[in-house]
Symmetry: D2
Subunit: 449 residues, 4 copies
């Protein structure tokens, strides 16, 4: 049984596994195994020690209950873990047990294990991002010409296309991908410093063993240990929060366009999805809600990570510990946000006819800028703006089409023929550079032509 019945909204099964207790002890075990191998290579552990520990890589020997019980006094799980590991190794062979954890301190194993888990987590995320990228590309292609009301301040404006709107998210997704890539390069780094960051218990071999250890684990070696310099870790959580913010932008827009009064887009409506316990007719935007819920939680995680930065001297008093559940939570939330976004992007329902009908319902009002721009060279922008402000107010009040109002205004017809007015009222003729922008985002060969 899981710890929270509501976690279904806030993680994916895959990411939950990456940060499960079992995965954590396996990552810790991996660190101890690699350390023993490195020590062995430099003559600080008995020959064959590494292979003895290798047989324990699945960490199935760990008694989690006693681990947690002892952790309450020890202050962390590394101390009882090393104790359990040493005990089990001794039952196999006494000699390898002598060098277990040599040179390391609790934070080394906990931080490095976290980095190893993050490595797996990033693989998952990158796969999800790639899948979302592909789905978004398809949707941008599919709807590049689909006319949609542009909306500012939740009020209607000139037309855009659905493809342009989605291209904005696609472009942000790529920036987020780059940020995550960059943060991952910073964060995939070994922590190994011993008690206070000097590796003193390894004498003069510290640097060599550190290099060996990093290589075995497939991590970068830092210039110096980072036990109380947490910036890379904070950066990692921050880029996940920004990614989630970008996804929330999309979810927010879809939820708004899914309102029955708008009805232009919809989440895919799989059977049984988004029902209500009391309202038979409901089709709720479950995926949008999940992404928005996740977005509301991410800033809190970043807050804690930033708050926790000024860790005292060579090991923090509380602030290090504050990170422990936050970093996994950030990955779980980001992964769920991506999964729900993929679902939305792959199954998006578009009602192009409604999009057009909604635009037409505005009776040309939202093309007021087109007319004012056409008038401006003749009478100046301020005067043109004022004429249109009055004309649109009149059209609104009288529920007339702006076209018809304009054709009655001498100050307009003096400069624009009836045909010109009709042309200005064609939304397809007022899309400006939309297609050029889309082509750029899609990286099309002629984007810059």
């Amino acid at each position: 049984m899981t710890d929270s019945l509501n976690s279904f909204l806030f993680s994916t099964p895959e990411m939950t596994r990456v940060f499960s207790p079992q995965a954590q002890v396996r990552a810790m075990m991996r660190f101890e195994w690699a350390l023993t191998c490195a020590l062995e290579k430099h003559g600080l552990a008995e020959p064959e020690s590494g292979s003895v520990l290798q047989s324990l890589l699945d960490a199935s020997f760990v008694d989690v209950d006693s681990l947690q019980r002892e952790a309450r006094d020890a202050g962390n799980i590394a101390i009882p873990f090393v104790r359990q590991l040493t005990a089990v190794v001794k039952t196999l062979d006494e000699r390898p047990s002598r060098a277990i954890h040599l040179g390391a301190t609790s934070q080394d194993i906990l931080d490095s294990a976290l980095v190893l888990q993050m490595h797996n987590a990033l693989n998952l995320l990158n796969h999800e991002i790639e899948r979302l990228d592909q789905a978004m590309i398809r949707q941008v292609h599919a709807h590049r010409d689909a006319l949609l009301t542009g909306r500012t301040w939740l009020q209607p404006g000139p037309p855009i296309t659905l493809g342009l709107k989605l291209a904005g998210t696609l472009a942000s997704l790529r920036r987020n991908r780059d940020r995550i890539h960059s943060a991952a390069q910073h964060a995939m780094v070994l922590q190994f410093g011993g008690a206070v960051g000097t590796l003193a218990s390894l004498g003069t071999s510290g640097v060599a063993i550190s290099a060996e250890l990093a290589q075995i684990l497939g991590l970068r070696e830092p210039d110096l240990p980072w036990h109380t310099q947490r910036d890379n870790l904070v950066e990692m959580v921050q880029v996940l929060a920004v990614l989630t913010g970008s996804l929330a932008k999309l979810a927010h827009d879809i939820a708004l366009l899914m309102q029955s009064e708008v009805g232009e887009l919809s989440e895919g409506n799989a059977e049984g999805r988004g029902g209500s316990s009391t309202m038979p007719h409901k089709h709720n935007p479950v995926a949008c809600a999940a992404v928005l819920a996740i977005h509301a939680r991410m800033p809190g995680l970043v807050t804690t990570m930033l708050h926790a930065m000024p860790q005292e001297h060579e090991r923090g008093l509380g602030l290090w510990q504050a990170e422990w559940e936050i970093v996994p939570e950030a990955f779980r939330l980001a992964s769920a946000a991506l999964a729900y976004s993929i679902d939305m992007a792959e199954n998006l329902q578009v009602d192009a006819a409604r999009m057009l009908a909604n635009f037409d319902d505005l009776r040309g009002l939202t093309l007021s800028e087109a007319v004012s721009t056409a008038l401006a060279p003749k009478i100046g922008r301020t005067a043109a703006h004022e004429i249109l402000r009055k004309a649109t107010a009149h059209a609104t009040g009288e529920k007339q089409h702006l076209r018809d109002v304009l054709k009655q205004l001498p100050e307009v017809t003096a400069h624009l023929s009836s045909v010109a007015i009709d042309r200005l009222m064609d939304p397809r003729a007022y899309l400006g550079s939309a297609q050029r922008f889309i082509a750029r985002v899609l990286g099309e060969a002629d984007a810059e032509s």
Copy 2:
């Protein structure tokens, strides 16, 4: 196995149980049972329906795995819960199944169940607060005269007593207790509004059934349903965060006084507590660290609760869901912070000799204010302050006792005799109203005399 190996720091077993999946489905079951009873009383459910549901109050019929699986599509766990409940009731008796959940919507059961869980959580918290209060009273009594260096900006100042310092925390604890009490009164309120807050499916009986339901559950009835007015819930999380902040103030001070260079206070050092995986001599302030870690996480929870307030119309889209895991987390963290604080308060080690020695090590410098205050009426505050600024700089530079420096200064000895200077250098004579303040906090009869 638990979801996080590090949760040992961030909850108590009791509070974990209050918000466990089992406890949550029991609370949901309690709501449905009470609703059926209320409906039955008003003729909207078949006779004996309530007693059929009563037999299911332990909610052991719930299949959590399928609950979670279905929740992913349904968007919440209430819908599959009601489905499972209806199915199991039908196996017992068809008639009571007809009125299950009548009048209610998913949010009614989820919100009210949360309130019922919070009710239990508050009982736990109040018990912990009471225990901490008692321990703090004992410590204030025990150390009301124990001289301690006052410290501002982490620099030494005039003396206080340890009792005074602890009385500050005791007074804040009472304010926090009052705030929690007040927030609890606001939050222990039924949510029951049906689909959109009108209880329309109950016809004209809505208000009567709502009153009955509140009474059965032991909750207050609100003026109107609060499905998208979340202020009481936010307040609850906020008062827990303030409580934790006050506890962190104490933990921070203890950790600072526990530094080996200060060595005045110490957490109790139970056998095996606060060791290091590599440094045999270590005795780490594990409890202080836990409280400070918790404090670093609380603001993030409050942030999410506030962020989530503007829930749309008659049910939020994501913002309601954002609260689900936050409220339980706030209670778990607060409970753990209290448990660690109780441990500290009950087992506090005080080294009164070291407290005095540290004060004496400052060679009278921190009594500069006493002298300057004595001189001021004679030569003015500014001149007195300046004399002492120079005298203390001289004493620091020459590593002399301030007393000896002062006795060499004609501008001082012109106004103060040697005996007077000695008296001014007596820290016990420079405690001002400390005892009066302590007496007030302890509510002693003569506090105001």
Copy 3:
């Protein structure tokens, strides 16, 4: 010239004045004047000292530029302020200058001055809240019967009335008023402790002078000084954040109902309000935007206040300072949120016809629950829900009115006559307890009848 051109959105002129530099030095001056009076009364200041300082209550002698310059080294503005005050008093009369600031430390004057400013700020807020309350009462009355689509998850549901929706905000406003009142009672408290909270430099007169000082300033006297116990201050900022969250809920709903596709409500459209620099037809919800912007900033302020709680020993190192600009900012933002909300509440435009038309456009779908509730006693809730789920899907697909679909379904007509179906399709008959809830919030005599 102001420091930020965008501050027009984020304060009111009145609240800006309460926390202006001039008002701050006046509040500091008020503290020093009152302290001198209290000292004089107890023989610790020369006779007539108080009246000398009284002549300086407007603090016009302060040279702000040098105050700020010196503050950079001093670490706060109190030190140079006391210096300037002492100098100016000396030019008037040497004797009163001797006792200036006696017994106090920088934090005493800064904290108590802040409390005095908060006192004025609370008066402003309470006045704004009262005005908003009156406006909301009028709107609830005016629209208590105005039928409106209930909306959950941004999808349509059964009907409510606009009065019921607004009553929800009115009820939350009263809860917020109570919270602010309670927090104000906690926070309107003198800070006076001297160097380390013992008032040692006042000898045995500390408590008496403290009581006198509190009385002169019209503040409550605390049990003991609260220099590093900041919970009351944090509570104050928190209740302002919750208030703002409740106002943001209203603003969010209005902005959504103001979408052209919904068009049910609108901010008042004063001439020139909410225009666009390029789109002549625009009428932007400027007030809604302001409230939502403010809401997005408040959680950050609360975060800082909570973060800053564990202030070291007898005076914090940085965390106290972190509060300085946050508390005024919280009041400014809250005041602006109220002002914009008052504007919205007083000038709300309601298009009741559109509200009704939008409901009718849903072709009875949102009354599915009414029918399912009517069927349930006959065939069970699950079966009824399933019939309606299919009927509404059919009605949606075929763009038929639900009424007409239902009349074609034998499993419905077997239980419900055509007349009964028509009655179930009347939204006015499906408002449940809405009027009772409204009456309760309005405190109407017959609310509980």
Copy 4:
């Protein structure tokens, strides 16, 4: 007069100027000038229009009071700014006035002006970072061998050197520099999209004019406008927050080492710096406090930026506005944190004798790990750890030097000679890889040898 007397702590004069009202209107003016030039080049503005606007680049024509007054109704300052600009241009020459703002919307000018201001802000920050980097390099060099107690959990551990501790901050500073550089590259990008991001009012010339405009302003052109994709801006604030967190780590350590009981380091004590209004002897860590205060405020700004990401459709309703005062604040705070850190780094007072004396005061306890490591190969790590745990407890209890205790223990002397024990008690021999780590951070040629 400034808006806040406490702002002296929270900005530098230079950064205050970058985000002053005057600088903002100049940046807006720069945008309008550049736009006019671009339009002119493409025949959309009259010849010589650019040079007319060029004469107004100092924006001295702006009436700030009326700007702010009108902004309250307009919702932003761009609309009245364009009005004032147009009016003043008309007084010079009517023709250029016709094309002012053509193609642009309010957000284009406000966002792009912000980017231009950020460009100047980044120049300032980079200069400060460079200066801090140089100061830190000097300090690392100067103190690379200075022995210092390593401290974990605020408890003493094995030795490090001050150089190693400072090298940790130096390394983080470089990572922060890289992050800021990367964020700057992302953020220094033109915003130009017109009403809804299509540049429709420029017909087919949109992309060409956008490119021209970007070139004139020295900004990167984005693939498409980013009006509601705010990730780059959020990233910018985030990297400033991380920088501040790293600086707070240093400030926190210095403040702790500056405690009188530790007394190892000190901020520079310029005359008059860090005094107290009541305690003549005080020398407060003013710069540390300022950095820590700033650190407590930064997470709140990041919270708001993240919260504000899901901006609706083609222009946000409130969330965009929420950013307006946050971005400048983040730069001001970061700049002040750097300035205080430079002050600390350039004037750091180091008491190397005290550092050594403090270490010696621990009577060898903190070298327990050295002995346990030496014993481990002979008797196993667990047994060795246990012997030392007891020996250190004994030494603590009896106030003996660990050396002397060890020499009395047969289980130790069986494996270690008296000379060997003495050597193990030499802290200089227990610095492990400290020098190698320092050399790496300093980029010394032989660092990897």
